[in-house]
Amino acid sequence: MNFEAVIGLEVHAELSTKTKIFCACSTKFGAEANTQTCPVCLGLPGTLPVLNEKVVEYCLRAGLALNCQITDWSKLDRKNYFYPDLPKAYQISQSDLPLCRDGSLSLASGKPIRITRIHIEEDAGKLIHSTEGEGYSLVDYNRAGVPLIEIVTAPDLATPEEAVEFLEKLRRILIYLGISDCKMEEGSLRCDANISLKPAGTKQLGTKTELKNINSFKALGRALAYEIERQSELLAEEKTVKQETRKWEEAKQRTLSMRSKEEAQDYRYFPDPDLVPIELDPDYVAEIAAALPELPEEKKHRFIEDYHLPEYDAELITGSKYLADFFEAVLKHYCNPKAASNFIMGELLRLMGEEGLDPEDLKVNPAHLGDLLQRIDEGEISITQGKKIFERVFRTGASPEEIIQAEGLRQISDQTQLLIVVNKVIQDYPQSVRDYLGGKEKAAGFLIGQIMRETKGQANPQVIKGLLIEELEKMRQE
């Protein structure tokens, strides 16, 4: 029997606010353990949380960009469970009145994926498990209270590819909105997936499993593909799929049962009496909607319209907000968008790939690339030299001028200077000259090569070719 997959995602994104959701501790990543805590985020008795206004704003930005309904009267609830990374023994979250509801995001195919809800909540601390089985774990509460939004989709995704595409699109939007840096490797973007199978063409839903510990886009695709195979095999043998949480094991490329839902958690949600309701003024929501930045799709279309980039270029460059910003910054110093796009897609992306560098970590000053492209256009340096210089610009952050000076790379276009070399080569290789005059035009190529050697590759090839032919033709007439 053929089965179809039914997939839904639950995405957590850490918001890039300066402070935590309910206290003024810094959210900076990578600080020493337990140096960013206070009585509120440590859950000490007698403390009171106060909601960070930016958290509401950022969540609304996400909701508006994802076509959600905004809940005008909302509240925060306590989700109760015991775990040492949760100092209060409850997480402040939202249950029945999330800030945003009923949105959607379309895939490239045009298929809409419904977004059930987006709510705000606090992150938990970080547990460090001792590896030597010493019988204890360590807790760092720096992350406790860092604001999160949780985005939940309807089970509208049908393949691992659709799930990966959705998550990539969502990530791009959140980055464009400036509300999260969405680094999966640092845990600022996390994704759980639930998946069930049903016989092809039917509506009857199967038992779903929930997949956790998905740490990359690749892992999401693979974990789902693995789970489709595992569940298909069970169903083909007429066995039942158990409703459970399964952990993706990257090293073994498989999912493994974590805990069965039989002992399902009872979170006993109730409104947090320490926090007052959020009543959103429609004017405030309209203000946020009006101030939404340009989103990836709009930017792509603008690049096609304004810069006449082919769709392929526009898609690739707007794939990263940082790259798109870089491209536009280059155009402040250089006026040929297609040449800039070619150089970025060719040289820049190649070097970034070699170094494993993300666009946000680029050292290149866009003005420097603009300057370099300008020099190539003006013939001051050849395209080959330009690429070499750019590699140095890329690695060191130095300006093209500095590198050209230091390496003596300036292209020689000066006619009198080049004419001396041309005549020297004509004298040095009389056989090739005779060959050329005898009709073997290829011999000119050899002579050009010699001139390039004499000038250590700094001669402008167009100029020397012109000069050489001119000199040779003169000789023919003599």
Binding site: T17, K18, T19, A24, C25, S26, E32, A33, N34, T35, Q36, T37, C38, P39, L42, L44, V50, L51, N52, E53, K54, V56, K75, N80, F82, Y83, P84, L127, I128, H129, S130, G133, E134, G135, Y136, S137, L138, V139, D140, Y141, D266, R268, P271, P273, L275, V276, P277, I278, E279
Partner: protein, 95 residues
């Protein structure tokens, strides 16, 4: 509305409280007396009254997103039962 001993046992487990069978029997009685007491509210006609989640009329209390100093680590860890590498030590958590 009332609770059974079984329900109470489940709630106790969820909140990590251990009771003896004798204590549970006493608690069931006390719980149900509280529920009866609160049940008097059911007599109030609430037709047309919107539900609320708060006893106070305050709403929209926000804080600007400005960093203030956190606790020094020694202060933060002062009440910990055990400390290692600047972190709270807790019993091993099995993954």
């Amino acid at each position: 509305m009332s609770v059974s001993e079984q329900e109470l046992r489940q709630v106790a487990e969820l909140v990590r409280l251990a009771f003896s069978e004798d204590e549970l029997r006493v608690l069931v009685g006390e719980f149900n007396r509280i529920l009866q007491f609160v049940a008097k509210l059911n007599a109030v006609d609430t037709t047309g009254v919107p539900p609320t989640v708060q006893g106070v009329k305050v709403k929209n209390r926000f804080r600007p997103d400005q960093v203030r100093p956190s606790l020094p680590r020694t202060e933060a860890l002062k009440n910990a039962v055990a400390v290692k590498d600047g972190s709270f030590v807790v019993p091993q958590i099995m993954e």
